[in-house]
Symmetry: C2
Subunit: 247 residues, 2 copies
């Protein structure tokens, strides 16, 4: 896959040009996720700008969440998307300060190759390449509501998944995508809506037909900005809650 290396617009401020160039260097794999960028002074020398200008460029990338600055240690390329768990949308009995990152129990119902339909292909910005992978799984936390999750992926570069038995599929997919498929999930766009259950779904979720559910549709994007995963997650609407801060 060839990456378009758009030449930065010279009319833009220097720090914007540098930001764009640095982004592309990260996408090109010059630094692994989790590893450190050169020091700010070093980068300023590379780009022949004052330290302040360099810091401005780095600051913007940090705001984008692409990198992370640690005082006294260095500037690091971000790894996986944080706080991507669907469980953040649902309320539990033991909500409290259990900072312990609980991993949900997962049951894979289906894992197979499939032909992606129009809706999914569109979300994944695929052209004629409709070969894909489908996963249907059930996830639950102790004391928590369960979630039914349908996931669609393009065949490439995810075909590694098809080599797994259903009980070998890891609970957390994004680390698998990174280590085995070479795809780092950098951001995602989610849409929340409500619906009622159809009979097949109701059976899988242990709820009655017509029961209200919250539906979260997520399109996940790689570091290079391409949509690479589409999933639909649904859970009991009674347990759904979500907070928004507006300014």
């Amino acid at each position: 896959m060839r990456t378009m290396e758009a030449a930065p617009d010279p009319r833009l401020p220097r720090y914007e040009q540098i930001r764009e160039h640095l982004r592309q260097r990260i996408f090109a794999g010059e630094w692994e996720p989790g590893s450190a960028l050169p020091a700010e002074t070093e980068l300023a020398k590379q780009y022949e700008v004052a330290l302040g200008t360099m810091r401005k460029a780095i600051e913007l990338m940090a705001e984008d969440g692409l990198i992370e600055r640690l005082h006294g240690k260095g500037t690091f390329v971000r790894g996986e998307l944080q706080q991507a768990s669907m469980f953040r949308f649902f309320r539990f009995r033991r909500d409290a300060d259990d900072a312990a990152p609980v991993v949900p129990r997962t049951v894979i119902h289906e894992l197979r190759e499939t032909t992606l339909d129009n809706r999914v292909a569109e979300r994944l910005a695929l052209g004629r390449a409709r070969r894909g992978i489908f996963i249907l799984r059930w996830r639950e936390l102790p004391d928590g509501p369960g979630l039914l999750e349908r996931i669609w992926l393009p065949y490439q570069p995810f075909r590694e998944l098809l080599k797994l038995r259903r009980d070998e599929v890891p609970d957390l997919l994004y680390p698998f995508y990174r280590s085995r498929c070479g795809v780092v999930i950098a951001r995602a766009s989610e849409t929340i809506r409500f619906a009622t259950l159809r009979r097949e779904e109701a059976a899988l979720m242990g709820l009655s037909r017509g029961a209200p559910v919250a539906v979260i549709e997520r399109t996940a994007f790689s570091l290079t900005g391409e949509p690479v995963e589409f999933r639909i997650t649904q859970g009991d609407a009674e347990h759904f809650h979500y907070n928004v801060e507006i300014k």
Copy 2:
């Protein structure tokens, strides 16, 4: 009402101290919402810091949404909270690019003095002063779903509302709060959840009892950071949709 003027912590960076001080000057009403602050060079002189430090402080306030910078014109105190319409949660037939700010048709069902119950008093951080105002209204957009809205306010400083006849209550409340009650709404916290309609509500909304609705609870805060309004808005769950970007 006396405002606590917390002395800025001298261990904090200079720009943080300035930001806090400038916030308090704005809260104290030194500049009206919509009017311009002194120029950056002037403020830098006032605080006896370099321009860069001053700009950093101003930049942070702009990120908070408290002020707005306009290149070549000046730095302005923000007025009302933007994009606070509950209709942003619901889907319409004519969603499109109708940038025209449509004002919903509003019917006031109730407008009266009331005694605030525990739940509301807690949200509004009231002590024993339980005297308050209650509004029940119905809002709808052409071609759009309707929303049922219950609003609770402390008696002070909102008692001006009680002088209005029901048909005199303006469609947009926040401008009224500002001009007639001296309260500028600066931010809000919203929680989204799901429920089914009780009979009384169903009648008001023209839906059947038990119909699924999306419920949005909003606590709105003034410029000084105090919670001053609590409202519960509900609309047909079928039309609800909300987008979240995660990084």
